[in-house]
């Protein structure tokens, strides 16, 4: 049997040492009436048969599609060296680095990841990561509520990714947090309305840049206003675009979070992804999850350890800052290697190539009659257009031609049934964009 090396002789020898007759004797604690009523799992398969089964299953997904679907999750190029490194058993078969003497690989990598995150976002402190961009926003809100003491209100911009806003509703359903959504204006954050919503009960205001519609904005003013009202500024960003965009640090954000799927993680139908969390020095005691710090060993040699563990559940239990007890260590390692391989120039070029293509696509699409951009504000590699037909129809019409047209905004926004979100990355060719615009023009 696979992955149990015991021969019959060894099993017997071990039973003899234990002093029981059969393996079943070891399960005597489970009485007969508690045994499985059924256990109709299929017969096991050889590795060869298992792989054939999954190759066949994976083959049922169509991979040749040209997709302009983004909505916060993007198909960027992943350098090949990443897989080679993270495939090393010392990294991927290790546990959480609880024994630092034997875990300096993971620990130093997380320390370097924290550094890369802080440098990219221009924030002071980062943790070792959380599950994804959505839980990162949730944890940021919780940080603000803890820091804000009696303040229970979170003001959130409607143009924050609605996929995350559904998550936030779920996560906060049973706790004493009041989420107030401030409507967008034609795809743009309504900064005045956001300001107006910040009152004495407000713990934080949450925005996203670029927002769900791809637009890029500056929230310096908003965060100043929040601070003046003793509320915090939370911003969710897109790491690739962040290489060129004004940073959370520059805007004066207190907490900056991100989904870092775009840094070396395949889309893989939803995960695993990588939640990035960072904050100012002032917020350091509030940040949840693992944090690695630099220190010295007994010989004075530099080393790394998990630090500030007193916040965590295995010590604080019900009073812990969060229930999160793992990070996405291997995903964080991927992101770190990704950033190291691309470097600042590589990440900037990735953003620029993606923008270049998106703007070319926008130019082409708006040449089609009755197709227009949702607004005139600057955008990065994704943008919203208004079509003369329902966006879902347009998507359906092009699907069988091998093109995924984009995301229908009407799914989450009333009155936006004709609005389509379209994204590009450096992996789109100008040719593909040309064919796509012709096909889309043909059905409009």
């Amino acid at each position: 049997m696979p992955y149990t090396p015991h021969t019959a002789e060894e099993t017997q020898a071990m039973l003899d040492v234990i002093g029981v007759r059969t393996i079943e004797d070891l399960f005597a604690d489970i009485p007969a009436d508690m045994r499985p009523k059924s256990f109709d799992l299929p017969q096991g398969l050889s590795e060869m048969e298992t792989c054939a089964y999954f190759e066949q299953l994976a083959g049922k997904n169509k991979t040749g599609l040209v997709s302009f679907l983004g909505a916060g999750f993007y198909n960027h190029y992943i350098p090949k060296a990443i897989d080679n490194i993270v495939g090393r058993g010392e990294f991927y078969t290790a546990y959480t680095p609880y024994q630092p003497e034997s875990s300096q690989g993971t620990l130093q990598a997380i320390f370097e990841f924290q550094t890369a995150v802080c440098n990219l976002l221009e924030m002071d402190v980062a943790n070792a990561s959380v599950y994804d961009g959505g839980t990162a926003i949730f944890e940021a809100m919780m940080m603000a509520v803890r820091a804000g003491r009696k303040r229970k209100k979170i003001v959130i911009d409607e143009s924050v990714n609605p996929i995350y806003r559904v998550m936030l509703d779920t996560y906060t359903d049973n706790i004493d947090i009041d989420i107030v959504v401030v409507p967008h204006t034609e795809g743009l954050s309504n900064v005045d309305a956001l300001k107006a919503a910040i009152d004495a009960d407000c713990a934080a205001v949450v925005v996203q840049n670029p927002n769900f519609f791809g637009n890029v904005q500056d929230f310096t003013d908003l965060f100043e206003h929040a601070h003046a009202n003793k509320a915090l500024g939370i911003i969710s960003v897109y790491p690739v675009m962040q290489s060129v965009m004004k940073t959370p640090g520059e805007m004066g954000a207190d907490i900056a979070v991100a989904e870092a799927q775009s840094l070396g993680q395949p889309l893989s139908f939803g995960g695993p992804y990588l939640g990035v969390m960072s904050c100012t020095k002032k917020m350091i005691r509030q940040i949840p999850g693992r944090i690695v710090g630099r220190t010295e060993d007994v010989d004075g040699k530099t080393g790394y350890v998990l630090t500030l563990q007193a916040r965590e559940q295995h010590i604080r239990r019900a009073k812990a800052t969060s229930n999160i007890c793992s990070n996405q260590a291997l995903c964080a390692l991927r992101a770190l290697i990704h950033m190291s391989l691309l470097g600042p120039e590589g990440l900037i070029r990735t953003a620029e190539l993606s923008m270049e293509r998106a703007h070319y696509l926008a130019d082409r699409l708006t040449m089609i009659d009755n197709v227009e951009l949702l607004n005139d504000a600057p955008f990065g590699n994704e943008f919203a257009i208004r079509l003369p037909i329902n966006a879902e129809e347009a998507i359906e019409a092009l699907m069988d031609k091998g093109f995924v047209t984009g995301f229908p905004a009407g799914r989450y926004y009333e009155g936006m049934d004709n609005v389509l979100l379209v994204a590009c990355t450096e992996l789109h060719s100008f040719e593909q964009i040309g064919v796509f615009t012709e096909l889309l023009g043909g059905i409009l």
Partner: protein, 482 residues
């Protein structure tokens, strides 16, 4: 070892995309752009590969050697699961594609995978329905607690409390609090949940009890039937923390014995790698009356045999993850189950329990075993007597093991045993490996008795020696100054 940042040289590059025709200034006004380029490593691909190759040698994985970390189930991670998860057919699809018109047609492979994986988990656990959305064990606990809250709310029950035994993982109470509950702790008796202690706090306000079975001492909870009975009377639900599920596959099904909710840690029981701390996956199973509350976008099978995402779940708690959880991790877990089959999974449990009892028995003359009877897949020993005798603590034994090239057991958990060491060998280790480890461990203990000082300074041959955690917490150097 130098950080990757300290190896940076301005202008050096590794994997540069082609030069764009237009730079960012063309698309963004200056006031929306950052003032300075991000400070990221400027290094060659060779620098990156050497740096991380070297770093990896400062790490310790199951592939390196035995890893008897109690409560963590560090079993071997079969390599074929990595191959499967890396198939382009699986890595390519955008998760939202399946939600678009006609999109399900183009993602049948992923949808069928998710559906079949959840079906198999149902049969494995005896639960009626599963969700793959929770992204790790603790996230599964929260999902379970939210489902419990939604159920009671929907039924009009006024429930405010969740009971957690003192031996429970710390995440249990932390998750319960996040779902809006007050946590009531109860003390163990003889290492197990005490029905009388439970009775004493059980009232109509109790929404659920969270149990780990076998518990974190590695002991089967003998009073389980009594507990189930008590809970039913007040319409309280029973939650199963799947951390120790490796102990009971094929021997007991959670759903059959009265548990209402369960989360599994696939990186423990179902062979997916821990990755140095993640990513994991924490699928949650429920009995049929809780099914309506599971997270939305559930993989389903149509009458014509095709697969789709079911969004007709008005009572759903919503979404625990942006899409369907850690798909690639669940995929590996599913691939593991397919390969082992029912017989293989049962055998895994049997050999895990065999290995644990063998270790326990061989150790009992050398370390105090507080609950020295047949254990399940793990057991707890205590260095408290040793500590009294010669000052050697659990920590010192752990460091002595590191020095000999082994990984240490879990120490100081569960909190209810002093100076505890928790051993979990898992089924993938051979008798030879166990014997090699035990011989070294016994040697360390016996040497420690004679010359405790030698152990206090261990380890000597690791990349770093004992680290100053106080300094780390005080100085808080959390990033590399550049």
């Amino acid at each position: 070892m130098k950080t990757i940042f300290s190896q940076s040289v301005a202008g050096r590059t590794a994997c540069l995309p082609p030069m764009p025709e237009e730079r960012a200034e063309r698309f963004l006004p200056k006031e929306l752009m950052r003032a300075k380029r991000p400070v990221l490593p400027e290094v060659s691909e060779l620098d990156v590969v050497r740096h991380f190759t070297k770093l990896s040698t400062f790490n310790y994985g199951v592939d390196s050697n035995f890893y008897p970390l109690g409560s963590c189930t560090m079993k071997y991670n079969p390599k074929y699961t990595e191959y499967i998860a890396a198939l382009p057919g699986y890595t390519t699809p955008h998760p939202a594609l399946a939600q678009l018109p006609k999109g399900a047609q183009y993602t049948q492979g992923s949808l069928e995978t998710m559906y079949e994986a959840e079906q198999m988990l149902c049969e494995l656990t005896g639960m009626d329905a599963f969700t793959s959305q929770p992204m790790a064990g603790a996230n599964g606990e929260l999902t379970g607690a939210l489902v419990i809250a939604a159920y009671h709310k929907d039924k009009g029950n006024k429930k405010t409390k969740i009971i957690c035994p003192d031996a429970a993982h710390g995440t249990n109470p932390a998750s319960a609090v996040l779902a809006g509950f007050e946590v009531v702790n109860i003390e163990s008796k003889d290492g197990m949940v005490d029905p009388e202690a439970l009775e004493a706090v059980l009232d109509d306000d109790v929404a659920a009890v969270m149990m780990t079975c076998p518990n974190t001492l590695g002991l089967f909870e003998n009073h389980l039937p009594a507990i189930v009975e008590k809970l039913r009377k007040v319409d309280a639900l029973l939650y199963y923390d799947g951390a120790n599920f490796n102990a009971i596959m094929g021997k007991m099904r959670i759903g059959d014995v009265g548990f209402d909710v369960v989360h599994l840690n696939v990186h423990k029981t179902l062979g997916t790698p821990h990755g140095g701390g993640g990513p994991g996956a924490g699928p949650v199973g429920v009995c049929s009356r809780l099914e309506p509350y599971l997270p939305n976008h559930r993989p389903a099978k149509a009458d014509d045999g095709t697969f789709y995402l079911d969004t007709d779940n008005p009572k759903s708690i919503g979404h625990m993850s942006p899409f369907y959880g850690s798909f690639a991790v669940m995929l590996k877990a599913f691939a593991y189950m397919v390969r082992l089959g029912g017989e293989g999974l049962t055998r895994a449990t049997e050999r895990a329990v065999l290995n644990a009892n063998y270790m326990r028995k061989r150790l009992e003359n050398h370390l105090y075993i507080p609950y020295d009877r047949i254990c399940m897949h793990e057991f707890v020993a205590s260095a408290s007597k040793l500590h009294d005798e010669c000052g050697v603590r659990a920590l010192d034994i752990a460091k002595g093991l590191l020095e000999k090239g082994h990984h240490a057991p879990t120490i100081y958990f569960p909190l209810i045993v002093k100076e505890c060491l928790m051993f979990e060998p898992t089924e993938t280790e051979s008798k030879e490996t166990l014997d090699g480890f035990l011989d070294d461990l016994i040697e360390i203990i016996e040497a420690g008795k004679k010359d405790p000082e030698s152990l206090f300074s261990a380890p000597h041959n690791t990349p770093v020696r004992r680290l100053d955690e106080t300094k780390a917490a005080r100085e808080m150097v959390l990033t590399d100054e550049v």
